[in-house]
């Protein structure tokens, strides 16, 4: 990236999952004109967060805007039910249930409801799914492969139907999460600008990350996300010793795609300054996202 990339809009939706599975149909109708029928909760979550984000940009979406969906566990919507049918009760699954278990299908409905026909990349990975999606989107927008990039991080919490079914990490996830940001290089009044997105395979490689940037005298904030050991946190805090800590997840249960949430929280907090967010994979690799939020009045107002 040679030029900072403008973030036109952000949206974050978090919901604790306790008791019966939530139904986001009514909330979705408020933000999406033509809600598709027969969609599962994961797809609802995608549409809810993404439409909120797009509606907040104040500008029409380019039809060839790219969609980049990061998810730690992918479309778990009906997968448990589907697998029980196939392997336990030996029933033939409903075709719609089968189709809706694909992660691609969530971003398909997004493209359909937003009338998009460009690049559409779902990335399901336990670690760094959001960072990888953002990295790809920045590359595509920077070289004009796509005119805009809609980048999301979506994961579905466990609900009552999963009781007795531990997740991949041996614990039930407690949150439904849908966090989105819209990259629009031509937006006249961006909320923030991404300076760079970088991956380091070891903590030592972080030393090569640029520290300079942003306006002179701009406050600098360091957010340390999940997947960093205590030693790594200490080393990073020392490496960026002049930076003020930015915390965002103290009262939340653990969830995989919290990098996206942290970045959006910083932007929504309207702190003018520079944020460096670093997350790890628990094995030494790190992903950093550096952005600046300008100090200006009325940033959240839609552009003309």
């Amino acid at each position: 990236m040679t030029q900072p990339l403008r973030i036109a809009s952000v949206a974050a939706f978090l919901q604790r999952v306790q008791g019966p599975p939530p139904n986001y149909g009514p909330a979705l109708k408020a933000v999406c004109k033509n809600v598709p029928r027969r969609i599962n909760r994961f797809i609802q979550l995608n549409l809810l967060g993404a439409h909120q984000c797009v509606n907040g940009s104040g500008r029409p979406l380019a039809p060839d805007c790219g969609v980049y969906l990061g998810s730690a566990e992918g479309n778990t919507g009906d997968t448990v039910h589907l697998l029980r049918q196939v392997f336990q009760t030996r029933e033939t699954p409903n075709p719609v249930t089968f189709i809706n278990s694909s992660t691609n299908v969530a971003s398909y409905y997004l493209a359909q409801t937003l009338k998009l026909h460009g690049r559409n990349l779902p990335i399901a990975s336990t670690d760094f799914s959001f960072e990888a999606a953002l990295d790809l989107a920045c590359l595509d927008v920077a070289d004009a492969t796509v005119p805009m990039g809609l980048v999301g991080a979506v994961d579905q919490g466990s609900d009552q139907s999963w009781v007795g079914q531990a997740g991949p990490r041996g614990a039930l996830d407690e949150l439904d999460v849908s966090v989105w940001l819209l990259l629009d290089p031509a937006h006249p009044r961006p909320l923030a600008e991404i300076e760079w997105v970088r991956r380091a395979n070891t903590l030592e490689d972080v030393a090569a990350w640029p520290e300079a940037g942003g306006a002179a005298g701009m406050p600098r904030y360091l957010a340390l996300g999940r997947g960093l050991t205590a030693d790594a946190r200490g080393a990073l805090a020392q490496r960026f010793s002049g930076w003020t800590a930015f915390t965002y997840r103290d009262e939340l249960p653990d969830f995989e795609v919290q990098s996206a949430y942290g970045i959006v929280q910083f932007i929504e907090a309207r702190k003018p300054g520079r944020l460096l967010h670093i997350a790890g994979n628990g094995q030494g690799a790190c992903y950093g996202v550096c952005l600046t939020a300008p100090e200006r009045a009325g940033r959240s107002a839609p552009a003309a």
Partner: protein
């Protein structure tokens, strides 16, 4: 359609003369587009669009393609759409079409990388594989996969991957002598 399972990976590098078993293969271009009206099967027009975009990205014309690796999902609607899309791009000058799913099954999310690696490996060994079990052509498809193995020279190759949810991708590779 028969499902399969497997895993694969491609390692890309910038330097010539290095690499493993596919060191003569070079990634030349690609396109990835969405068909927002085709949750289980795209239209021929959308498939043709992504193939043409990949050729444009690689800066080559359809006439320069030596052979095609079809997605070949083996559903009537899917194969007809892909065949008609190929017709729109290549017209009557259709290069040989290879298809891997009859041999290894449909490995769903893994099929693109597995079939790319398999196809490039075959080309590097100078042959295109046959299509096991293929007996009768569907006239509505407009083309048919190879019935028997065929020798092939190095050149440029188009590889189609069309997924659920209207995710369509075409890749262009060259294989050098």
């Amino acid at each position: 359609m028969v499902l399969g399972e497997g895993t694969g990976a491609l390692v890309l590098g910038m330097q010539e003369g290095r690499g493993g078993s596919l060191r003569n293969a070079c990634f030349c271009g690609a396109a990835s587009l969405t068909d927002p009206q085709g949750i289980t099967c795209s239209s021929p027009e959308r498939m043709a669009e992504v193939m043409a975009a990949a050729l444009k990205d690689a800066r080559i014309s359809p006439g320069e393609i030596t052979a095609i690796k079809a997605h070949g999902v083996s559903t009537p609607a899917g194969d007809r759409a892909e065949g008609q899309g190929l017709r729109q791009v290549f017209g009557g000058d259709m290069p040989p079409v290879a298809s891997f799913k009859p041999a290894i099954g449909h490995t769903l999310g893994a099929c693109a990388v597995l079939e790319t690696a398999s196809f490039l490996g075959c080309v590097q060994e100078r042959f295109l594989p046959p299509t096991p079990g293929f007996e009768q052509a569907d006239p509505a498809v407009g083309c048919e996969p190879l019935r028997s193995a065929q020798a092939v020279n190095p050149g440029l190759f188009l590889l189609n991957h069309f997924g659920f949810g209207g995710n369509n991708t075409s890749l262009v590779f060259s294989v050098q002598p």
